[in-house]
Symmetry: C2
Subunit: 133 residues, 2 copies
């Protein structure tokens, strides 16, 4: 078996396809983009755990939308600064947002294995949220 590594343009398109999948909450397709044994921030979530995390994110933030601010793709790595502009319903990251509008960023690195995301390292700008409520 050989896993053909994706080129930069392919990988950019795949990553945008992944974000489209998230924004559509099209969870049946998540496994096209995310490996069965995916690890996020050193936790081995697996595809099911990763999907559960994303579903919980959309429950906490009903108008959640993933938008790219900055992007650097160098196969097999994708790095994105994602920008969120949303109204979390209740408490988010321990902060009582309670429906107010907040804008914040996530800086996330993905290591791809072939067509799928195998490792994720994410940091979220919680301090920015704290400054807005």
């Amino acid at each position: 078996m050989s896993v053909k590594p994706a080129g930069p343009d392919d990988l950019t398109a795949r990553y945008r396809g992944y974000l489209d999948c998230l924004n559509a909450q099209d969870w049946g397709r998540l496994g096209e983009f995310v490996a069965d044994d995916v690890v996020r921030n050193d936790a081995r979530l697996g595809l099911d755990g990763y999907r559960a995390m994303l579903e919980a994110d959309f429950r906490a933030i009903p108008d959640l939308r993933f938008e790219i601010g900055q992007l650097a793709v160098e196969s097999p790595t994708v790095a994105a600064r994602l920008q969120f502009d949303c109204h979390p319903a209740g408490v988010l990251f321990g902060l009582p947002v309670n429906g107010r509008r907040v804008r914040f960023a996530e800086h996330v690195f993905y290591a791809w294995r072939g067509d799928r995301i195998a490792m994720v390292w994410s940091l979220i700008d919680v301090e920015a949220i704290a400054g807005q409520i």
Copy 2:
């Protein structure tokens, strides 16, 4: 005047040169890598302010060393997950570290203009430090 955009290999080498400059605390050369009007996290620090920030970082963390964990270069953008393993002397990000060993990451995006860094967006994993003291 034309500013020739750096290719990916050039930019990777330039970025590694920038980190070498930081690790050597060779502040006289910082202007080779950082634009006079550099903006960091929406603050227009300028080269002098940027240098002052870095000098303060090394005062707070005498054994500070910038090491690349993950890197994605797609000109004119560089994205790095930097990994720190160090002994901050006193209070760092409001946390009383007081010389203990801490390991933490920074996720940082740089927009280059020609040979120099023009914009920086940085997030630091302060929560990881809190969990180690």
